[in-house]
């Protein structure tokens, strides 16, 4: 009894109070030092403020204050200030304890347009499991302690889950096309990955199911070299109807043409305008883009009298898909079409091209690569003509006034009953293919075209034009010969004393110069003598018609659109998986991403798998047996409100990036579906009638455009108005009375 009394007095004594104050202060100092050293509030809290010992200390404070007050019983007037102050302290302490048990303090991450009704508790651990049985979807969350345990999974009674091991920190890599030493593509057997070094060959694999696609997979830090090697290895050049492999063509110093492959790669931009440069007889240089919307459409880079190069160069590729992985484990897919076109798609860790979700994730996830070409060897020129004919038909439907040469042609078409647009395009294309200034008078034309041309009638109406075309033909023949011999058009005209040299407003050489020349002949023709002629053959008529078109600047190249041609597609797919790698944990615990090793058992099936922590609980859920999905995430608590973020904005001070205000418009939907709009801003909280409070705690990104993401703190404190705030008021009031109320002070 005596010792109990001593204890009672000690518990209420000033000594005990001083010891408690000093211990608390010491612990807090320690906490701030740990936090400063490690930059981790969580670590500091673990060792001090959240440690059970600190809670014990708070409890002892409570007892000390209570007993010290009880010891003064029976109370007198002079005790009032003391009692007020210490009662206030007791109220604050009990308010804090009550909130820890019955209150809610969590976070919510919202993206503009999204909604949520669950709050997560940062740095806590839980397992989110979903099960699919037929149409029915069951979801449940289970709090986890990081010890090895068997988890009680009450809604999923048939499933048994065991935590085999936990690790404090891990790295999660997303794996797409290459997983370990094999590359995976749906519909094909795994392909072994080759460690590639410059100089060695790239092994290709043929697979029966994939038609005639070849597959290859390499891992190398030298992506650019690998791509170059890959292209050269699988491509042939057809130049002047000679087929040579690209490797030979690049090496051999062919007297006729010289080739150069210009292919540069950046891990960020991908292929940078890859092209084949052809130097033809040292006269013309042609660039053939190998990728992009204008792939394989040769561009003449040296000036010439013609729109198209004199030589036709074609490429022939073995359709191949190459999967590459660099030393940062980023994947690149590069496909080669049968016509030598390339297309590269990067799949980087931080930016997948797309994401496929199979059956809400129960069947897993995948990524897709779409290439703009198929296997078939389509004739792009044919398609181009079709496109041109179609658009011309559209135009001709409205019966527009026609240019004279077209009118002439249309008359012939009417006689034979052929279609004007089609005849026109076929004629231009035949002319274009001859690579001559005018269609040759003895060209071999298709029968249908010959038929129409045969019906061309240069009757009275067309006499002056007919004469002009004859003169053009007369002029162009020696001109073409001279140009063939290396003379320039201007010097030829000068030598022959062409009188209107100054008016030729076009660079030499250029196709426009010839058009301008033809136009001059046209203007002159009325004062020129007429030329006798016998009956003309269809091709001769075509020859003159091409002169007519020339004067009007109507040629295949000027009409054919450079719009990309709709092509077929090839789609490849691969499953998306993760690879977890243990990492050295940070001292700043907040940054760690713990890893779970789990064992699941249902009936006779048993499987082990790993899950990495998803700190905001918004990432992918990983499947098991097509039945379950799992996510390792913070604990989540559903609140009776659903919050939707309409818009978030940051308002800056004038002429600066310093924020003046952060605001976000939210809609709060309660259980009955009643909606309420509110604007949260820094220091402006929304509180519902039953005490749920929403605070705007963060906003990103800072730049003006871009979808904003906000961090909302949600809090529910039942004891606040009852205990904490009144307690604070009492402490302040009591302190004033305690220090300056006369009767008490007098005692000293």
């Amino acid at each position: 009894m005596k010792s109990l009394k001593t204890l009672y007095h000690f518990l209420g004594s000033i000594y005990f109070a001083l010891i408690l104050i000093a211990t608390a202060a010491f612990l807090v100092i320690l906490g701030t030092l740990i936090e400063a050293q490690t930059d981790s509030h969580l670590l500091a809290a673990q060792w001090t403020y959240s440690h059970p010992f600190f809670n014990l200390l708070l409890g002892l404070f409570f007892i000390n204050i209570l007993v010290s007050a009880l010891r003064r019983w029976p109370f007198k007037v002079k005790h009032i200030p003391f009692l007020i102050t210490h009662l206030g302290l007791l109220m604050i302490l009990s308010g804090t304890i009550l909130k820890n048990f019955f209150g809610l303090q969590g976070s919510m991450d919202l993206i503009e347009g999204s909604a949520s009704q669950s709050v997560y508790i940062p740095h806590s651990f839980a397992l989110h499991i979903e099960k699919q049985e037929g149409e029915q979807l069951t979801a449940a969350r289970f709090p986890l302690s990081m010890q090895r345990t068997l988890i009680d999974l009450s809604p999923f009674s048939s499933l048994q889950l065991k935590v085999l091991q936990t690790f404090p920190h891990s790295k999660e890599h997303l794996e797409t096309w290459i997983k370990g030493n094999y590359a995976f593509i749906f519909g094909s057997l795994p392909i072994p990955v080759q460690e590639w070094k410059p100089g060695s060959a790239i092994q290709t694999h043929q697979q029966p199911d994939l038609l005639s696609w070849q597959l290859a997979a390499v891992r190398t830090p030298h992506i650019e070299e690998a791509l170059k090697h890959f292209y050269i290895q699988n491509t042939e050049v057809i130049a002047a109807s000679e087929v040579i492999s690209l490797a030979d063509a690049l090496q051999n110093q062919n007297p006729l043409f010289h080739l150069q492959l210009d292919l540069s790669f950046s891990p960020i931009e991908g292929l940078q305008n890859p092209r084949l440069k052809v130097d033809w007889m040292k006269k013309e240089t042609i660039e053939i883009p190998l990728a992009g919307s204008h792939a394989l459409q040769p561009i003449l880079t040296t000036p010439s009298y013609s729109y198209t190069p004199a030589v036709s160069i074609q490429l022939n590729g073995k359709p191949t898909l190459l999967i590459l992985q660099d030393d940062q484990e980023d994947n690149y897919l590069c496909a080669l079409s049968s016509q030598g076109q390339m297309h590269l798609i990067p799949f980087r860790q931080d930016s997948l091209q797309n994401l496929l979700v199979y059956n809400q994730g129960f069947e897993g996830y995948g990524v897709q690569a779409v290439f703009p070409f198929g296997l078939e060897k389509t004739n792009t020129e044919d398609k181009k003509q079709q496109q041109l004919i179609a658009s011309l038909k559209q135009l001709l439907k409205e019966d527009p006034p026609l240019a004279p040469p077209l009118e002439l042609l249309s008359q012939a078409c009417q006689k034979t009953g052929s279609d004007l647009a089609e005849t026109f395009v076929r004629f231009l294309y035949a002319w274009h293919q001859s690579h001559l200034f005018l269609l040759s008078p003895d060209a071999h034309l298709s029968p249908s075209l010959s038929l129409v041309l045969d019906h061309l009638e240069w009757n009275d109406r067309w006499q002056s034009e007919f004469k002009a075309c004859q003169w053009i033909s007369l002029l162009f023949m020696p001109l073409a010969e001279a140009i063939e011999n290396g003379e320039s058009a201007l010097s030829f005209l000068k030598n022959h004393r062409w009188p209107f040299l100054d008016q030729l407003n076009a660079p030499d050489p250029s196709p426009q110069l010839l058009t301008a020349l033809a136009q001059q002949v046209f203007a002159l023709s009325s004062s020129l003598p007429s030329i006798d002629h016998v009956d003309l053959s269809p091709s001769e008529k075509g020859h003159l018609l091409s002169a007519f078109f020339k004067a009007y600047g109507l040629e295949y190249q000027t009409l054919a659109s450079s719009e990309p041609i709709e092509e077929s597609k090839t789609v490849w797919e691969t499953p998306l998986t993760t690879k977890h790698q243990l990492a050295i944990p940070f001292t700043k615990l907040e940054n760690n991403k713990p890893l779970l090793v789990l064992e699941a058992q249902e009936g006779s099936s048993k499987q082990r798998f790993t899950l990495a922590y998803d700190p905001s609980g918004t990432g992918l859920k990983w499947p098991l047996w097509g039945l379950y999905t799992f996510r390792f995430q913070p604990r989540q608590i559903d609140i009776p409100y659903r919050i939707r973020l309409r818009e978030a904005r940051q308002i800056n001070y004038a002429h600066s990036n310093q924020p003046y205000s952060y605001e976000s418009d939210i809609v709060i939907i309660d259980k009955e579906g009643k909606e309420e709009e509110a604007t949260l801003s820094m220091n402006h909280v929304h509180e519902t009638w039953d005490g749920y409070r929403f605070y705007l705690a963060g906003m990103s990104p800072a730049r003006e455009n871009g979808i904003k993401r906000i961090h909302v703190v949600v809090n529910h404190d039942p004891a606040k108005y009852l205990l904490t705030y009144p307690g604070a008021l009492l402490v302040a009031l009591g302190a004033i009375l305690l220090f300056w109320m006369k009767p008490y002070a007098k005692k000293r």
């Binding site: 000033i14 931080d350 940054n591 004038a654 002429h655 600066s656 302190a735 004033i736």
Partner: protein
């Protein structure tokens, strides 16, 4: 004249000089507001600030700041290229750039090539930013290849093994020095050490580079944007494009607002008619616009909030003045006329609101705010107040030693005067910025001694003893000297969004920071007590009185600190969603409160005596100094990061050592006396 009259005569004279003359001077001055870094400031203050940013001084080569700004505005930066204009103090950066470590001023022509050629420095900075992003928990993908848009969009860095290499280079100064494939740093898997070592260097580098970029952007009266606009117009005209299309093309390629914004970075004094928070440079007056009907370029119509008449007048005088200056003739009459016109044009809008946010609005400064701000920058107020406090303290010491009432009267008069000036300084800051003066380190360092002096004056009223005033003036002197030597940012700036809020926050901060002033005063009195104790080797009657004073001060301070801290908790609960989170600042407020509660409890229950109380006041002072300075400058973490900084740690540790030695000395002395008493 009797002596008392003389005192009051001089007093009134000084008062008149100080507090009537200045406003009068201000009243005559015509202040034009200019937009600069988030605020609209008087042109003169703006120029001083701008200049201070670059060369750490409010005038350059004896040229007043404003004159230099006008000159730069018209002539561009080239005339300053060879002059040592940039202030650079970082020894590390100077060493990295191969610059003379003994100099602190460098010219643009020296810095630009040094920076753009320093491949090793740029590599370090890029590596630092990569590792910083790589370690950032928001980088969830763990991609080993990252873009660094804060340095330059398109700049990518990646790991190759354990080394860092540039994955993609950019064509932009100074980063174009680094080429794709360059190795930036070797063996950097352990990033924390690298980050610690390079944080300061990186900050200093980015700061310097931002200044160089700002300086490079000063192109003078030639407007590049306008030239391309005119060129484009001429081309379109040549191609016979119809007027309607010219209009559309020009507006699409060169949007008008973009051109107005890019017209110039200096002297942004023209308020936009369409965007109230946007002001344009005077160069915008020269912007031309395509007129569809005339099919030609015409000078832009009034795009400002000024009346059309004012706008035309301003444009005419500005064009004329600029033309004159370009020909080497600085026409002051025209310049004055332009200023007068601008002043007149601005009058109707001063004081009006321009930006609304939820629950708060921003306003243009009023005419008086502009005038006051100009005066604030023009005169060295703090040295003046310091001088007054210094003289007062000196006279107090004299009067205490000589027991001379005349000195005492003068001292009392001076401290009142100093307090008045001090109050006016704080009031001026509050009036100009429309907020209480406690939201950055500089402001708290003026506010704390003000509270100390106020507390001293109040206690003087109750206790009729001037020792407390001596302590108060010493407190002020120490803190104001600290303020002067540390070069804290004393400029008038906007408050951070978090602090721009409620009444309760203001009360919380005023109370907590105010308590620092009270405690420092208590600490100084504690020193008096202990020093006197060491001197007299016993407690005299005046020492007992001193102890009583200390107790009262500790009561006052503790009440303020605890109530203020709890109010802070309530404010945090109301606006952040939590009452208490053991943030370092909160923790140290808690620790200080515990310490003072400990002392008060121990004293009230007779566990310690007067000596202990005085020593406790000093210990408390140390705790308070850590709460105030240490949390911000030594710990440097936490949410109360409104005044974080670095520097001065060494001096602080020295201060702690001196204080502890002093306490030990006093304690030793007390022990000795006790022993002596016992033995005798």
């Amino acid at each position: 004249m009797r002596r008392k009259d003389k005192v009051s005569f001089y007093g009134i004279f000084i008062f008149w000089l100080l507090f009537l003359q200045l406003p009068l001077a201000a009243y005559v001055a015509q202040e034009i507001p200019a937009a600069y870094q988030g605020r609209f400031r008087p042109a003169d203050a703006y120029a001083r600030l701008w200049l201070y940013d670059f060369c750490h001084s409010q005038s350059f080569d004896k040229t007043p700041a404003l004159d230099l700004i006008w000159k730069l505005h018209v002539l561009g930066h080239s005339f300053l290229d060879q002059t040592r204009f940039f202030w650079l103090s970082s020894a590390q950066l100077k060493q990295q750039l191969g610059l003379d470590p003994h100099r602190s001023r460098f010219s643009y022509a020296e810095l630009m090539p040094a920076l753009t050629n320093s491949k090793s420095l740029l590599s370090k900075i890029a590596a630092y930013h990569f590792l910083k992003r790589y370690a950032d928990p928001l980088n969830r993908s763990y991609s080993e290849k990252l873009e660094l848009p804060q340095l330059a969009p398109g700049l990518w860095v990646s790991y190759r093994g354990n080394d860092l290499v540039l994955a993609s280079s950019v064509n932009r100064l100074p980063w174009n020095t680094l080429k794709t494939g360059d190795i930036l740093a070797f063996q950097t898997r352990d990033s924390s050490q690298f980050l610690r070592d390079h944080r300061k260097l990186s900050e200093e580098f980015l700061d310097l580079w931002a200044k160089l970029e700002r300086f490079s952007a000063l192109k003078g009266s030639r407007l590049k944007e306008e030239e391309t606009y005119i060129q484009h117009f001429l081309e379109l005209k040549k191609q016979n494009v119809p007027p309607k299309e010219i209009m559309a093309i020009l507006e699409r390629e060169h949007p008008l607002f973009q051109r107005l914004r890019l017209a110039g970075p200096l002297l942004q004094v023209l308020p936009s008619r369409h965007f109230p928070e946007e002001w344009y440079s005077l160069h915008a007056l020269k912007v031309q616009l395509y007129d569809q009907e005339a099919d030609a370029l015409v000078p832009i119509r009034n795009f400002t909030k000024f009346s059309d008449e004012d706008f035309e007048q301003i444009r005419t005088s500005y064009m004329k003045w600029e033309q004159d200056l370009l020909q080497g003739n600085d026409n002051r009459t025209l310049w004055n006329l332009l200023n007068e016109q601008l002043f007149k044009a601005h009058q109707p809008r001063l004081g009006a609101s321009y930006l609304e946010a939820r629950g708060k609005t921003l306003t243009y400064p009023s005419a008086w705010q502009l005038k006051l701000e100009r005066i604030y920058y023009q005169y060295p107020f703090i040295p003046f107040i310091l001088l007054l406090y210094g003289t007062a303290a000196f006279l107090f010491i004299l009067s205490l030693n000589l027991n001379n009432s005349r000195f005492h009267q003068w001292a009392f008069f001076l401290i009142c005067l100093a307090f008045l000036a001090h109050t006016l300084l704080l009031a001026a800051r509050s009036y100009i910025l429309e907020r209480p003066p406690v939201s950055n380190m500089f402001e708290t360092v003026i506010y704390v001694p003000w509270i100390a002096v106020l507390c001293g004056l109040i206690l003087r009223f109750f206790f009729k003893n001037s020792l407390i005033l001596l302590a108060a003036s010493l407190t002020s002197i120490i803190l104001l000297i600290l303020l002067e030597v540390t070069h804290l940012n004393h400029h008038l700036e906007n408050v951070q969004a978090v602090l721009d809020s409620q009444f309760w926050l203001i009360i919380h901060v005023l109370m907590v920071v105010g308590s620092y002033g009270v405690f420092i005063l208590g600490g100084v009195l504690g020193h008096f007590y202990l020093a006197s104790f060491i001197w007299h080797r016993q407690e005299t009657s005046s020492l007992a009185f001193l102890a009583k004073l200390i107790l009262q001060i500790l009561y006052l301070g503790t009440t303020m600190l605890i109530s203020g801290t709890i109010l802070g908790g309530i404010w945090a609960a109301e606006s952040w969603g939590r009452f208490w989170d053991w943030d370092p600042k909160e923790s140290w407020a808690f620790i200080s409160s515990c310490l003072y509660l400990f002392i008060i409890h121990a004293f009230r229950f007779q566990k310690i005596g007067h000596f202990g109380l005085a020593a406790g006041a000093i210990l408390g002072l140390l705790a308070i100094s850590f709460t105030w300075y240490g949390v911000n400058y030594i710990l440097g973490t936490g949410l109360h990061s409104y005044g974080f900084g670095s520097g001065g740690e060494l001096f602080y540790y020295l201060f702690l050592i001196v204080e502890f030695s002093f306490l030990l000395l006093a304690y030793g002395m007390k022990k000795k006396i006790k022993k002596f008493k016992l033995t005798s």
